[in-house]
Amino acid sequence: MPTITSQQTRMDAYLAELRTHLRSLPHEQMLDIVEEIRSHIRDTAAADGAMTEASLNAALHRLGPASALAATYLTENLLARAERTRSPWLFLKSSLHWASLSVQGFFVFLGALIGYSLATAFSFCALAKPLNPHRVGLWRIDADSFSLHLGLSRSLPTPPGHEVLGWWITPLGLVVAMILVLLTTEIGLRTIRRFQRARMHFAH
């Protein structure tokens, strides 16, 4: 027959899993969340005195799997922090962790990675132009095709075709990079908010 100690062990295991999934949050905040959920489980599972196997099962069932609960915390936390700071680094870091917890998170992370990588490529082109002007820029190969070159070494051959933007690649590259960062963050936040709404269920 399960003992009170075994219920305690199961509760601790649930909280340990929650703690593991919340590791990307600041340490103090993570501890605060875990203790709040511990307090909640004690209140709901031991409402009539001792914590039984059935009451603990019911309490944990209502909370949902630790990974799903952690994912909701991370998403809410990400929304609050990213909306406040609009920091791409913070958004990418949090979405990476969310990606390990859900399929939606994976696609948001993938989208963010592509958006920010393109922005980085444009920024590099913009900043490298003064260093190696004949090998960095946008080249027109033929009537329909263009090629963006980032030649950092002076020993590289000059790209074929005709250079299109010249020195304009620097301001335009920076503007395009900035727009890409803003768009990626904005679309990422909106997507998360939509997924977050879809996760919430209400009983009647």
Binding site: D32, E36, S39, H40, T72, T75, M200
Partner: protein, 124 residues
């Protein structure tokens, strides 16, 4: 000839769920207007006061966000139950937000009431 596909109307219960979701933040902030409460008390208050039965897995992370946004503050209090509980209260910013939200809600529901008046009259 182009065929226009008309999507089936959403069932009424789905619409209700969407409506309740939209009101959750306001309901939580309003529940904390006159006193501090801990998570489970907030859920009971929502269930008793407005029939909003919300899963724990939704409310706790939402409380955490409202706190991160500076609308709520929290404190741990030793309870008779033998373990501490985390109580939430509205901050000054939170109080201002509820007032704004309540004002918007009143205007919105009043204008919706005007629109609904003929529907109610004919449905009787």
């Amino acid at each position: 000839m182009a065929v226009r596909v008309i999507p089936a109307p959403e069932p009424i219960d789905k619409w209700e769920v969407q409506l309740r979701k939209g009101c959750l933040e306001l309901a939580i902030l309003a529940a904390l207007w006159s006193e501090r409460l801990y998570g489970l008390e907030i859920m009971r208050r929502l269930a008793d006061g407005s029939n909003l039965i919300v899963p724990e897995g939704t409310v706790y992370p939402l409380l955490s966000r409202l706190k991160a946004e500076g609308l709520l503050s929290s404190e741990w209090v030793e309870a008779d139950a033998g373990h501490p509980r985390k109580y939430y209260r509205l901050t000054a910013v939170g109080r201002r937000r509820v007032v704004e939200m309540a004002r918007f809600w009143e205007n919105f529901s009043a204008s919706l009431d005007d629109l609904l008046a003929p529907v109610r009259k004919d449905a009787r």
